[in-house]
Amino acid sequence: MIAKEIERAGIPVAAITPISLLSRQTGASRVVAGVKVPNPCGDPELPSESDRALRKELIICALEALQTDVKTPTIFTPKIVYTRG
């Protein structure tokens, strides 16, 4: 996977991955639980302001993840509400 090669070059990657795909081997060490496949960084069913707020939480979580020392692949969960499925 792409994340693995970037990490191999020594650059940390925060991978925002849809929640239904978290159990897959992605090769990323810092995985952020995103929303759904068609919209990993947001929720089109939310009003615009809430959608942006959700995206902001994902970014905050991803920036945290980038600065976290991890020894094994780790999932980071942002403070958001996930749509079903």
Partner: protein, 358 residues
């Protein structure tokens, strides 16, 4: 043994309910074969009968795995199923994963022999190799559905053997993917004799087959964390298929082999620019109307320092985002894309990456 009673598992696409938009479809079942099951049923002939087809959406399985496994086991028990088949899943990763999980569960709870089929690079193969269930078999298929007829024929032949309770030989004999299970066999030659035979063959450049293949597990490299956010340049990477309007680098919607970087310089929101979405693995309607879902530019700008060195913010966002459509790809191609992208990212002095995948 009478005719085998087969339960067949499909995802929403092969069950003909719909595409990605139906990936949340809950578990359901119908009597008899559905979709490719119909052709499989006719190929099975007298050896077996598909009495029941169970299906659910790819996302539904992932988010309700435990309940779905329990429910399918219950159905299997009630319908007195004797063989379970899942697939063929080709390169559909979520579907392949579901096939392997269900086969593993049914093999354990109902002691059923199980057959599934998918491309060797499908994510589902990983679990199959880890579980090592002696009575679960995975047949390799082509990448896409053009190999359907061939896959169904080989599946039918395999089910014929399973139905008659015959002994299934080794992976290389029978054509299924190896699980790394070692079976004890009787042979006329001692270990010493066989080792010498192998060595002589190797020395004279004759073909030989090792009895114990040695596989090395690759350790996932873990990069150190970002130490100094305030001075860092961060970049966005996406596999969601967002590209510049007109798809100038001609990404393919499936089995894409290219990557590119596109300028977001001066843009505060992806919707201020012109983009296309090239991706055959999901319904791109939301992404097209709001590419911030795959390239979260609008909100990441808020964490970019306005003046030099602001606390809690990174110095600057790299003025391009990296893009490579990620679906139905063969791992050697994806690896090459990753290596090339990583080289570019490193040479540009980027200190950290936010990657969004679909």
């Amino acid at each position: 043994m009478g005719r085998a009673r087969v339960m067949h598992f499909l995802n929403q696409f092969f069950a003909e309910i719909g595409g990605e938009e139906k990936a949340d479809a809950p578990l359901d079942s119908v009597k008899g074969p559905v979709g490719p099951g119909k052709r499989l049923g006719s190929l099975l002939g007298d050896s077996a009968q598909i009495v029941l087809t169970v299906f659910c959406g790819d996302n539904y399985f992932a988010s309700h795995r435990v309940e779905v496994l329990q429910e399918i086991a219950k159905i299997g028990r009630e319908e007195e199923i004797t063989v379970f088949i899942a697939g063929p899943a080709f390169l559909a990763g979520r579907y392949g994963f579901a096939c392997t999980e269900i086969a593993h569960a049914l093999n354990h709870s109902l002691n059923l022999p199980c057959l599934t089929a998918m491309h060797p690079e499908n994510a589902g193969v990983v679990g199959y190799r880890e579980y090592k269930d002696p009575r679960v078999f995975l047949l390799p298929t082509s990448e896409r559905t053009h190999g359907m007829e061939d896959a169904l024929k080989r599946m039918a032949q395999f089910v014929y053997k399973l139905s008659f309770g015959g002994v299934i030989g080794s992976a290389s004999e029978e054509g299924y993917l190896s699980r790394g299970i070692r079976l004890t066999e009787k042979t006329d030659k001692t270990g010493a004799e066989r080792a010498v035979d192998m060595l002589l063959a190797k020395l004279s450049n004759q073909p030989f087959m090792t009895e114990i293949p040695v596989t090395t597990e690759e350790v996932t490299p873990i990069a150190p964390p970002l130490r100094e956010m305030e001075g860092a340049c961060l970049a966005l990477v996406t596999t969601s298929g967002v590209v510049a309007r007109g798809n100038p680098d001609q990404f393919k919607a499936v089995s894409n082999a290219k990557w590119a970087k596109y300028s977001v310089s001066g843009l505060k929101d992806m919707r201020d620019g012109k983009w296309d979405v090239i991706h055959g693995g999901y319904d791109t309607v939301y992404m097209s109307s709001n590419p911030n879902y795959g390239v979260p530019l609008d909100m990441i700008r808020q964490f970019e320092a306005k003046e030099a060195q602001e606390e809690g913010r990174f110095a600057r966002l790299y003025p391009y985002f990296y893009s490579a459509t990620g679906v139905g790809g063969v791992s050697s191609v994806i690896k090459r894309i990753g290596v090339e992208m990583a080289q570019d990212i490193k040479s540009e002095g980027i200190a950290g990456v936010l990657l969004v995948s679909t």
